[in-house]
Amino acid sequence: MPLRSSEIRVAVVFGPGMKIRPVWFDLDRRQHTILQITNAWRDKKGDTAFMHFHVTDEGALYELVYNMSDASWKLEQIEVL
């Protein structure tokens, strides 16, 4: 399973009740529209809380990770479907 971990630009809808919904992200100079959020969960490393989102576009599964302390996004993984 190919792994990458890099800072990434993500467009997000913040809803009531701390709801976060990623809508699209940039990767390799291309905008990828998120078709489905297959899973989402939270974890913590030290004091920092992270939200993990497994999302799909038309061809792959990605893991986007939101760092709740500094509001940054990382792309953790790509899996071609």
């Binding site: 399973m1 489905q36 297959t38 899973n39 969960w41 974890d43 993990h52 497994h54 799909t56 599964l61 893991e63 993984q77 899996e79 479907l81």
Partner: protein, 408 residues
Amino acid sequence: MERVIMHIDMNAFFASVEQQSNPALRGKPIAVTGSNQRTVILTASYEARAFGVKTGLTTWEARQKCPGLILVPTNNRLYTHVSSQIMKILLDYTPLVEVFSIDEAFLDISGSVTLFGGLERISYLIKSRIRARFGITCSIGIAPNKLLAKLASEMKKPDGLTIIREEDIPRTLEHMPIGELCGIGRKLAARLALYSIRTCGELGRYPLERLEKRFRLVGEKLHLMGLGIDDSPVVPSEEAEEVKSVGHSMTLKQDIRERVDILRFLLQLSEMVGRRARRYGVWGKTVHLTVRYADFSTIGKQESQPTHINLSDDIYRAAARVLDNLELQQPIRLLGIRLTCLQYQTSQLPLFPEEQARLKLTEAMDRVNNRHGDFTVMFASLLDQESMGSHVISPAWRPEGIRNVAVT
């Protein structure tokens, strides 16, 4: 190293596969039914379950509960294909995958959980890949052993993830009804209830000596189950015990009683058993015939052969002899043939020209059928049979090896 066992259970598997393969069915109450006229509900989508539709109901009963229910005939080939693909995904996370049934598997992830970033991450990775590729949700249970992992996966459905850690075991089991444990069925639960054992906590505390006295050999096993102890390993298919028999059975569309009709089904079953035995290079010394009557009573009789056999007509002749030694009491609803006392080595080549010709003929038939599908070339007396082949996915079905039965 602490054991970490994962149990994966696909939610409403057959119905989910159908909804995924036909978008018009998504979000609707559907039920998958058997392929013949005696049909019952095999599984129902969660939308249908909300109306009380469940496995085992007749289609009439199901429609009473849910008038808008969409009935979909079973498509076993599709389900076994999707299951095989899912089991392949699981092998990306550990080589220790035990296929428990078409929609369930155990994984020993003790050695790989850290590689994938922890229990939650590995679970969500698997769930996401299955969902993204097949549109199917699954429930995952993680625990220190198979017994508790299976229990955990049942605790949150659909699309659940439940982790039972070592320190959570007593609290989880204390009020858990014993019937929730895999291996304790309704009859056993009722017997245990006679001794006021209704929860796992009560089972674990019940004196071992008394359990052994009342339940003999299973007494100790029950005691351990009550305590949440299970040392059984996750056994991948390549390490599984050798198969001890090759068999097929079929429930007939209508009850039959005429010898000529029975023989026609026996020939079909013999070909199915023989084909599978030959594909995996096994020969059997005993042919066992199972007959189930219309009232569901079942009888079986077997005959030992002078040599090990696996040619369909040899199996058929033996089964026909067994049939002729049975005194049939009622019309028959199910027939089954099993080849047992298996030998896994090459049989002696036939010496006589007639035997050699028979072997060559069978090999030629197998080659054609392997290439173009089962029963492409068949015995002439089967020509007017409506549908041939296996229509039921046995609990023993596995994605590979001799237990991989092709279904239609």
